[in-house]
């Protein structure tokens, strides 16, 4: 698995202009981009990164930051002034023209910002173009191109000419052409930037789906941070030719390397980036199912909470509300299992906040974050969710959920007091050991 990186860029420099080599030398000595402007325009300065097989690696930056230059060096359309590029272990920079063509045919294909379809060929022949270059016979390549066209939803437009398609459709042909090539690596240069926002969102989702299905490695260039955050497994942020930060979307969002990145990520749609695991808090308000109704009541009171998660081992059984506890206490029930509500709303740790928000609004208790074994990893109270979306640093660890009307609370308060003060010593005396166990479990949780 951890064999050869799909793409590896080592100390890439690209300077356009009169004296590129001198400019690179001076940049290495620490001069800035503006200082070497007399020798040439430095488009890319000392860029190094590794793209792992199967991931979407996004290079993000504003126009003029050098991202399009970088991607063109990855498949040798541009020759770096210094540094080298390895694609699946093969050196692109030192390759002969014939080797370079071979690398492009077998390893790297490309999707262009303005689609770059051949206007005189049909959609089908455009999609089959890469195979034609590879020397594959007409029927075979058309069959394979048709497969991919159907996958991207253009099966019925195979005989159309590119100029009768909408932008989104044309880019689908562009993607189909790159996918048909069968190469492991896809370079996408601002592939969705020329599309209108609705189509763009749709294409992004489709790309993620396709990538999950086909497992290609994708290097994606964009100036749109939301797009970068949505697509990227890892993101390299570029500014003035340099990579200023390289990390996962969450790292970049929560821990920007400098003010530039921080300012940049200010406007990002955080709901599409942050995951449940990223914003959840430790689940304080829990009680072991063995602690019984009284144990649950104590935890509720201590935490001034309206509901408590019942756990068994570390697994979530369900949620117990104050109302149910009081009712059970009144009717003399002691088994927590009888009153636990197992239909509690849970979310996975990797769920995006976008997908959680709706459930959080409907839920009356904090969302439980559980893994695939239903182990309770943490909780997301609504306020935490809102704070995360609004980029407000969390200062409180409390879970002030008020889920019942005030009148009801007032009605129950005397009862609760009476019950809680009276049997508390008793519970210690029963030898059940439930409340101490609850504390112990709570400690173990941390």
């Amino acid at each position: 698995m951890t064999s050869v990186p799909a793409v590896e860029a080592r100390n890439l420099f690209k300077v356009f202009g009169r004296n590129p080599n001198q400019a690179v030398r001076r940049l290495r000595e620490g001069q800035t981009r503006t200082e070497v402007a007399d020798a040439g325009t430095a488009a890319v300065i000392d860029a190094s990164f590794t793209v792992n097989p199967g991931e979407i690696f996004v290079i993000m930056g504003l126009s003029g930051s050098g991202k399009s230059t970088i991607i063109r060096m990855l498949n040798g359309l541009l020759q770096p002034t210094a540094g080298e590029v390895l694609v699946q272990g093969r050196n692109v920079t030192t390759a002969s023209p014939a080797e370079l063509r071979d690398i492009r045919r077998t390893s790297v294909s490309m999707v262009f910002q303005h689609f770059a379809l051949l206007p005189h060929l049909t959609v089908l022949d455009n999609a089959a173009y890469a195979l034609e270059i590879q020397g594959i016979g007409k029927t075979e390549r058309r069959r394979r191109a048709m497969d991919i066209l159907e996958r991207v939803g253009l099966g019925d437009r195979a005989d159309a000419m590119p100029d009768e398609l909408s932008g989104g459709m044309r880019q689908r042909v562009g993607i189909a052409r790159a996918l048909t090539a069968g190469s492991d690596i896809l370079l996408m240069d601002e592939a969705f930037s020329a599309l209108d926002p609705l189509i763009r969102r749709e294409m992004q989702e489709q790309l993620v789906e396709l990538q999950a299905e086909l497992g290609r490695t994708i290097v994606f260039i964009t100036h749109d941070l939301n797009e970068a955050m949505f697509l990227g497994d890892r993101i390299a942020v570029m500014r003035d030719g340099r990579i200023v930060q390289n990390g996962t979307p969450e790292e970049i969002l929560t821990d920007p390397a400098n003010d530039y990145v921080a300012q940049f990520v200010q406007d990002v749609d955080r709901a599409r980036v942050l995951t449940a695991a990223g914003v959840m808090e430790p689940a304080h308000v829990t009680t072991p199912i063995s602690a019984g109704v009284r144990g649950a009541l104590r935890v509720l009171r201590e935490n001034q909470a309206g509901a408590v998660f019942a756990v068994e081992g570390r697994r979530l059984v369900g949620v117990v509300t104050d109302r149910a506890v009081i009712r059970a206490v009144k009717s003399g029930q002691t088994d927590l299992r009888q009153i636990v509500d197992t239909s509690v709303t849970t979310v996975g740790p990797d769920d995006l906040l976008t997908d959680i928000v709706e459930r959080a609004v409907e839920a009356t208790v904090p969302l439980a974050v559980v893994d695939e074994n239903r182990r309770l990893l943490g909780a997301i109270p609504r306020v935490t969710l809102l704070a995360a979306l609004g980029n407000v640093p969390a200062v409180t660890r409390e879970m002030p959920i008020i889920q019942t009307p005030i009148e009801m609370v007032a009605e129950f308060t005397p009862l609760v007091d009476a019950v809680a003060s009276a049997p508390a010593p008793n519970s210690d005396g029963t030898g059940d050991g439930a409340p101490p166990a609850a504390v112990a479990m709570g400690g173990g949780e941390r």
Partner: protein, 301 residues
């Protein structure tokens, strides 16, 4: 004034005699090349002339009408027939066919020269920089001047006419080929490269097809220039309508001059409309297939 006098007397550059010396040298040592070229050109011309003059005139008329129909439609076909019949009734048929043969042979050779040079100039800025002033020179040099060395190199007859015509007419072919290829969307060429196409394949599959409208416009220009030069070429003994025109000029024979001149105009118009029609078709083909596909689109969608 003195300076001029001094320049003319003392510093006079004998450029003219140098060129003459060069031509002499060329004839002396490279004469065999020109003999070879002369043989080839004459052979091609004789073939073309035979092709146009052997069949009875109505066969030619029908063929031209058919081509005109294909290129543009029935109206051009009818117009061509009327024009050709008019030439026949002016008793200029043989001359017109000779001019047509001379023009088409020159155009054929000029195109064979122009397109590769245009492609080369589009790929290399150095070549482009070298070729451009040469084209300027060829295009602006008074047409008659070509005839003089052509006579020296090829003696009098149809061959110097063809050579002079080619030199005069080749420029727009080169220019518009270069322009067309340079005008091809660079991202599409980049796409060809990115998928590992060889330069030759990119030229064949991307650059030439996309540059075709511009190349066709260039060929159209080549034909027009070649026709005008084909008339002048008669001064060095090339057959055709030009002979009558020059005769008319020297005898101030208005009626003969007008009749031959009108025949030239008719041929020019037919050639222009036909090549223009074919040029437009290369552009239109895409749109028309687009139209039919769009018409069928609602059914599939």
């Amino acid at each position: 004034m003195d300076l001029f006098q001094w320049l003319a007397d003392g510093a006079r550059i004998p450029l003219g005699s140098w060129v003459r010396a060069l031509i002499d040298w060329v004839i002396e040592y490279l004469g065999f090349i020109f003999d070879f070229i002369a043989t080839v050109f004459r052979g091609i011309y004789d073939g073309a002339e035979w092709l146009f003059l052997t069949p009875p005139f109505w066969v030619i008329v029908i063929i031209v009408a058919g081509i005109a129909w294909l290129a543009k439609g029935p109206r051009l076909a009818v117009g061509s027939v009327i024009g050709l019949l008019l030439i026949g009734s002016l008793d200029q048929w043989d001359n017109a066919m000779q001019t047509l043969a001379l023009t088409l042979v020159s155009v054929l050779i000029a195109t064979i020269i122009a397109i590769p040079i245009g492609i080369w100039a589009a790929r290399s800025q150095t070549v482009s920089n070298i070729v451009r002033p040469i084209l300027d020179f060829l295009q602006t040099m008074p047409a008659f001047v070509y005839l003089i060395p052509a006579i020296f190199l090829f003696s009098v007859g149809v061959v110097p006419g063809i050579v002079a015509t080619i030199l005069f007419a080749v420029a727009p072919g080169v220019r518009l080929t270069e322009l067309g290829i340079r005008g091809v969307d660079s991202e599409v060429v980049e796409a060809g490269n990115a998928f590992g196409a060889t330069p030759g394949r990119i030229l064949r599959q991307i650059q030439l097809p996309l540059a075709m409208p511009s190349i066709m416009a260039g060929i159209n220009q080549v034909i027009m220039l070649a026709l005008s030069m084909a008339v002048i070429a008669s001064m060095v003994g090339a057959p055709g309508l030009g002979k009558d025109i020059i005769q008319a000029l020297s005898r101030t024979n208005i009626s003969l001059g007008f009749e031959a001149g009108l025949a030239v105009v008719i041929i020019a118009m037919i050639l222009d409309r036909v090549t223009g029609g074919f040029g437009a078709r290369t552009r239109r083909r895409r749109i028309s297939t687009a139209g039919t596909a769009r018409a069928s689109a609602p059914a599939t969608a």
